[in-house]
């Protein structure tokens, strides 16, 4: 269980890091959507390893194939099956960790849960799995674009380096101009230098990805449990290494008084708007037409190039040594994943909202 996400626009993913391949089935994509394979490819390029000096140098080609659900360039309403074959799955030697539990990885918990685990490269718990999410998210983005909705994420913090500007003060068009995906050029340079330093010290560091969705119409969200931000929050927390989620005023908002925090309504032309947006575009779990924005906290990557104490499957004390090519900081590559998961929620909830009124 647990490998499907969404209600109407629903994805089911499969695949391990070093198995034959991975993929996703998208059920419920409405018929008639133009499917731009180049766009999917671009999105996957943004996620894939080896794209810069501050990401892992591992190579994964991420060639995908759409097997079904698209005919003459358009979605047909039937499930869209996408597979991404693993090209080098046999090349690695994982015997050095086969029976060891790497600290803060999922080795121990998978073993306890299932009594068996595919230890090659983390198996199912590997972030490689997010390739399938990005492919599906690209299709969700195409659908959202059709309805005038955009989703843009960027890196707002790396370690202690925090970008003290709101998304309104930034030009998000600059996000892709640097390898850390921070739209503020100056801060980006600092972040890159910092990650590089961390990498050289054979260590890793965490960070925050911020995201904003614009053009979302009022009415999306299904209280009381499936509130829009609850589903977005779950989507974010389902991404590897995520430790926290906040939207609108978030954790800082707890310090405010209601009189400051409340967003006054006013009218502009035919639209009802709010003067401030501490609500983050969502009130009572339903979008109100204002921008939706949120932050996602990522822990430092668990794989470090250092010796660590641990135990093995027999409970014996062992040393785990860092090996291979890994990300010193996950947030640059997490940007497209955050966007993908947000897009999937919005696409799903947009479709559901069609059933709200008689």
């Amino acid at each position: 269980m647990g490998n499907s996400f969404g209600r109407i626009f629903r994805i089911s993913t499969f695949g391990e890091s070093h198995g034959k391949g991975l993929g996703v089935v998208i059920d419920g994509c409405p018929a008639g959507l133009e499917i731009d394979e180049d766009f999917i490819w671009q999105e996957m390029q943004r996620r894939k390893p080896g794209q810069s000096k501050i990401t892992t140098q591992r190579k994964e080609e991420d060639e995908f194939q759409i097997l079904s659900g698209v005919f003459e360039g358009k979605s047909t309403g039937t499930p869209i099956g996408i597979v991404i074959m693993n090209t080098d799955q046999k090349s690695k030697d994982y015997s050095h960790i086969a029976d060891k539990f790497r600290p803060s990885h999922a080795d121990y918990t998978y073993f306890e849960k299932y009594g068996i685990r595919d230890y090659r490269g983390g198996g199912r718990s590997s972030a490689r799995e997010t390739a399938a999410r990005v492919a599906a998210g690209a299709i969700a983005k195409m659908m959202l674009r059709h309805f005038g909705i955009s989703v843009q994420a960027y890196v707002s913090q790396v370690g202690d380096l925090r970008l003290d500007k709101t998304y309104q003060e930034l030009n998000l068009e600059h996000t892709e101009e640097n390898i850390v995906r921070c739209p503020d050029g100056e801060m980006a340079e600092q972040m890159i230098a910092y990650i590089d330093e961390v990498r050289k010290s054979r260590d890793t560091v965490g960070g925050i990805v911020s995201c904003v969705a614009k053009g979302v119409p009022p009415g999306l969200g299904e209280p009381v449990f499936d509130r829009l931000h609850a589903e977005i929050g779950k989507a974010m927390l389902s991404i590897n290494a995520v430790k926290g989620f906040e939207y609108g005023s978030g954790f800082e908002g707890v310090k405010m008084r209601g009189s400051d925090h409340n967003d006054a309504f006013y009218r502009e032309g035919d639209l009802v708007k709010t003067k401030t947006n501490h609500s983050g575009g969502i009130q009572g779990g339903i979008s109100n037409g204002q921008d939706i924005y949120f932050n996602v906290a990522f822990k430092p990557v668990a794989t470090i190039m250092q010796d660590q104490e641990s135990v093995n499957e027999l409970g014996e004390s062992v040393t785990v040594s860092g090996k291979g090519r890994h990300d010193p900081c996950v947030v640059p590559r997490a940007v497209p994943i955050v966007e993908a998961m947000c897009a999937l929620v919005l696409a799903d909830y947009l479709l559901i909202s069609r059933t709200n009124k008689l």
Copy 2:
């Protein structure tokens, strides 16, 4: 849609603030559980309004009735239906807000979504709905207790007043000894005084509820999407007024290096444990047997006793005046709600985990 939560141990709630009644159907509670109605009653007392000078003075009796699913004191495996009648639903006059959108409430979004809304006391968006959650959560807690699992929440922040102690440094037995539900007596006094001051200024303030679950066995959680913390996060974000969720090292963890953040495994007797617990008891989305702990951020209550600018259903500028009896700070009463939702997730995932192995 959106009024059910859980997969196996699944609840469906219904009811508005000022309708005839509210309730919950619990489907999937395993047979043979002793149902202690007194315990349900106690839990509901912890949530109900009017319990102290820092909560709303509104009276709700919250008398519940179990209509089904329990026979001779034990659950039978069939759905447990619980209803809570609203005793004073006709007494109020809500005409002053009938067509006005209160700032940062769900009035506008419900109206946009459904084209109609029950404006009496917030209708479905009222926190009154959480009474049903607490009743169901009490049953989940009984089940967890049977398996040696406890869930305890407490207030760790009100406005700027932050309790700078970890849950290990606190004696959570003291939580219920004061009206703000902070286990540190000194801090509790400060918080109470502060909330009282805020209340007198006809304003409101936010806060944080922290929660810890002990005794959770390894193996709970269903990656990749239904990770244990993703589901707990969604559960928390589905509670009224919640703006953020973090578990383990949370947002602070992003500043750490991997070498500090990683939790080294070691063996103690037959058990595998971790020396630190930045993981918050969850690795790869699956419980690892250590304590699960998390924080939940609540915004300041939107209802303030002050005049505010807004618009009405026609889009005209109007003034909304504060009226009635409302909480100046929601966190003291949110403590049992956080526990209830956490217990519901754990009960559900505990049952699901029985299907993981052959």
Copy 3:
């Protein structure tokens, strides 16, 4: 598990035969539907016991209360909670069957499944549970009526007495004119006489309910698994005592040649129609705009007024004696239940179909 039905228009029922009460939560009913409580009451009258000499003489008042989800006579889009209190739940003595397994009842299987059972009147397995379905179905019917869709069922067979007319040859307006609910007056008389004879012999007999849905637009049904007829079939098979389901040409159709069975398309005005309708209004699992019709087979009621051999919870041989007031034939009262379940499926699928196209 298992007490919810539907995806968007989704019901969850609860309640035992002799507990405090039963009920249903309807989540996903679109907002703005006028809720006619008199109509719900009428539908429940059609199902309730004691309505004629050929049904059980047991009295159940079936007074229902709508607790939520309706405001000023209209659905609000929030869950509609309905409860039906059991007024005489304490009056009976069930000690004579408390530990005995009645033949062809659910006593043994509930006991094996749950290790505990509410033996009073069959508990959850009692057909009393269908009262909640009929209440929910009445609301689904109101929604369908708004879109010009009707659902009408009738008795077409009792024991060997089979009505050899198709629904087109009958005037279904006559169905409610007799107590067996057969629209053919002559056959109705025979059926009534036969049931009465069976009743006098302290026995029971089975029958068939036929049903037709008119005005269903093309496009309802979600292949490949959630085909429209598969969901209707499941709905019917979920009703107590049902042993079979067939639609369109059904079991007789297997004898036909394709050249006779195929329904030729033709055009009438703006509409595409079929000359015959062996498909039963559904092709490839999707409605084609023609009438949907199907048959539902009900076994003879298991409770007979005779002594029967059986075993008790200890596995000892016992005699089970018939007692109480029971239906000699279930089909007359099953008519509104079949309609209710069909209406629930159609309402659900109508809403889902709004998400099929971009």
Copy 4:
């Protein structure tokens, strides 16, 4: 929507007849199951076209690949992704039916529902989709075998030729010994001759597949809606060309008296058994430990080698001519599909039943 089946042991299928490929994701298969790829291959051979003179002569190789979820020969608890590439998807010319609606096919309904359709070989509505079900069903069968449960189907009727023996009077080991898959050799010969005659007359005919599951423990089934037979019924009705389902005494049972129909309990050693089994192994929607048996009615295949009247997408009258290689009768190849779907339901419900008791 609609392309997933099951709750815990859950499959999601994708793929069109003439797209690049098809496949299935199995989520929730418990860890530790030995996966025998040869057995999957054998099951797929039973379904594939071109296996005898009475099935279509079309060649499909049905080479499958397991991409994930299996490690060192065992299931790991993570999703099992299986793909089956279509090797000859570009070879055919479908322009002669591209805009025509074939009678009693899904052409018209898909077009109405989605506004677009992949007309090549029926697209998603093609029975080719069942290849994915058989692959998944083979894995479900392996799991059932581990628990001593078997599922065996056979052909019991073709056109008017009806096998008047119960499954107890037959030796089901003979089923695979002839090409029509009827365990009675004499009847098999008649059926084969009849199908051959129908084929020569360029026509098609329907039939019935019967199925029996042995070794199912008591306790499977989730009333009130997810009764075991309701889910099996839905599974069967989701197979292409199915028009009816009955279990136990079925449609014939309606003619019986309760005193004859009731299955008397008795004890044999430690087991509670029933003297007769009109219940078909299921009482109150829950298995009782006796054999589960049921019948599935298949209509005559819609594709006939004759000219038929119809309309096209513009509503114009057209003639549809039969072309290509198709089955004159679907039931011989439906046998493994019926088994697969039954096995999937039983595997799912077996896992769910682990959550019934405390």
